[in-house]
Symmetry: C2
């Protein structure tokens, strides 16, 4: 019923997270109506992300320079590494402005159900960083759900022999939710109330 | 906090209808993770819509051939024209499979508040089609809200001297809602129960 190109765009848009048939249709018609230069800007932005954004070879955070800004900034405390599941979690923690250490992005969490084991995460890279020395504390900031907890416990076992302090962010965050959606204050409390594992 | 290209993509995505900051962030990271060929397909689809989809010179429906399929299909009843506000409404009516006539897309509705007058719609084109002859009935299928009603009444005045029958779809549709979201059955009832204006 739609012209073929419009149908194809609607199909492609539906692959995006949180976009259903109605939403895709609405966006497709918006793109159709939108001035060409605005559409070009969107296209360029997508292209740019695919071309220029990559993962930091040290901490695996998303970046357009390698190593990333966190790993190179002189004002960050290099003795503390905060371990998170993904890049969005780094952003959530940075929003608190309460943390000045480094990060390590695991690129996921252990999940036997989804066939995600230790080798699918960047755990080896984390251990290498720690073995490199100069690290006093590892903060385990994986999500407060089953997978995140399991991952934290697994990492604690591996890290305790190597680091002075291995800590876990406090459960100030409503369990079952996601770090990405935690407000600054709760996140700040969680960071502050971290306890020895 | 994000790498610049990612920030720009998130900004661009937020301009799309129904997408907020969180949704844009989630989609941006999805695009970042997605395989390049899938991203390329999305880019091509957007490009294609901008390049190949246009408006029918007869009925103003979206199309990639001019005149559009509805205006050229021999199995459509050329004596009836259904007038709608936008292309999505055409799709909503086609979904009923109960209508076999032609369409005319107004590209909006009269709205003094938003400064949209008769000259901003494709009313002149509609009158020219009717004056061209061969039209027995005009079905006014503008939205059942203030603007849509006003537009229908305005068009009825202009068309009555020119056409045998000027009808308005029945108010089977919940008033205040939008044709785009009407289910097939309600839409079918509305088309069937149309009454003389």
């Amino acid at each position: 019923m739609h012209p073929e190109p419009l149908t194809r765009l609607i199909d492609e848009l539906q692959r995006l997270p949180g976009i259903g048939r109605k939403g895709a249709q609405r966006i497709a018609f918006h793109i159709l109506r939108t001035p060409r230069d605005e559409a070009e800007r969107l296209l360029a932005a997508v292209q740019d992300v695919k071309d220029r954004v990559t993962y930091c070879s040290v901490c695996n955070h998303v970046t357009d320079v390698d190593p990333c800004a966190f790993c190179t900034k002189p004002d960050r405390d290099r003795r503390v590494i905060c371990v998170v599941e993904d890049a969005q979690n780094v952003i959530a923690i940075e929003r608190t402005r309460g943390y000045k250490g480094l990060y390590h992005v695991l690129m996921g969490a252990l999940s036997p159900l989804h066939g995600i084991g230790p080798d699918d995460l960047t755990i080896k890279g984390l251990l290498d960083r720690v073995k490199g020395g100069g690290v006093d504390e590892i903060i385990l900031a994986t999500n407060p759900n089953v997978e995140g907890e399991a991952t934290a416990i697994y990492l604690a076992k591996l890290l305790k022999p190597l680091v002075v302090r291995v800590t876990r962010i406090a459960m100030g965050i409503p369990v079952g939710s996601d770090l990405e959606y935690t407000d600054e204050v709760t996140m700040h409390k969680a960071l502050g109330g971290r306890r020895e594992v």
